[in-house]
Symmetry: C2
Subunit: 177 residues, 2 copies
């Protein structure tokens, strides 16, 4: 599994007991980065999964989502942390382990009725992903699929997303390791 083997694990980051999966070692490698983008492109270029636009979640979702928007000939829309977008926006609060956070999208970024592919690097608790999907739906658009490089199924995000009816695609996963 060449994609998984290029992901670095940093134990006890950001705190004791967490195995942090660091994709920077995968994407700094030209072959690794190309493999990631080509694998996702192959999934979506066939036209079985129809969508109009790609939304990437700040910040690592911008790297993957930007490249994928290019290969698939789509536009790219960023979902950003609070206070980063300059024009009129909709916001969504979501719960973290301690406290809450907010993400935002420009109101005019997505046309009502659009079909959206959401892209991020890693699926853990699914909190950010669910909030991102909520933003798309607030704009009257539909989330066709959420795609990630890495899934951490032990943390439960994928179960949560699927139980709410979302389609999820991931390239690799760390389960019990």
């Amino acid at each position: 599994m060449p994609i998984k083997s290029k992901i670095r694990t940093i134990p006890d980051y950001p705190k004791k007991g967490i195995m942090f999966r660091d994709i920077t070692t995968l994407i700094k490698d030209p072959v690794g980065f190309r493999l990631v983008i080509d694998s996702l492109t192959q999934r979506y270029i066939k036209g079985n999964i129809v969508f109009d636009i790609i939304v990437g979640i700040e910040s690592r979702g911008f790297i993957i989502g930007g490249a994928l928007a290019y290969t698939l000939g789509k536009g790219f829309v960023p979902i950003r942390k609070k206070g980063k977008l300059p024009a009129e926006k909709v916001t969504q609060e979501y719960i973290l382990e301690y406290g809450t956070d907010i993400i935002e999208i420009h109101k005019d970024a997505i046309v009502k009725g659009s079909r959206v592919l959401i892209v991020d690097d890693l699926l853990a608790t699914g909190g950010t992903a669910l909030a991102a999907a909520a933003l798309i739906e607030k704009l009257g658009a539909t989330v066709v699929e959420l795609c990630f490089i890495v899934d951490l199924p032990d943390v439960g995000g994928i179960k949560k997303l699927v139980s709410k009816g979302y389609k999820v695609f991931t390239l690799t996963k760390f389960k019990g390791d």
Copy 2:
């Protein structure tokens, strides 16, 4: 100038007197996004400007830099805001209008002696760009060129970068408008 015409200007953001140039309207458009990435690809694919790796500056530099790394078959390395990178890193402080800020890069992200292309969306004062170049040089690598979608020459960043010997490429500019 189709690239420039798709960039939205937001007056008095983030504060009175500033004309904010918003590239989100350019990149959400599939033709606009493709035009940006293809224009940069055309510049670098000929092989006259030789480099080994692409470094993008958080966050909008990730969208452009990620796509460009893909088209040029290079790896991608992020320069991030303070506290975002999980492994050993070097840091660079730089001066803002009020106070200072810090950006960081992983120590093992760039091999000593590498030739680096730095990518970001917009060149204003050049403060972040200079700090990014300093990070590359701290790792013993060379900045071959810095490229941006938008130049704001009235703010003086391009003059500052060029006076320090850096090569700069920009796709479009807003000057006196």
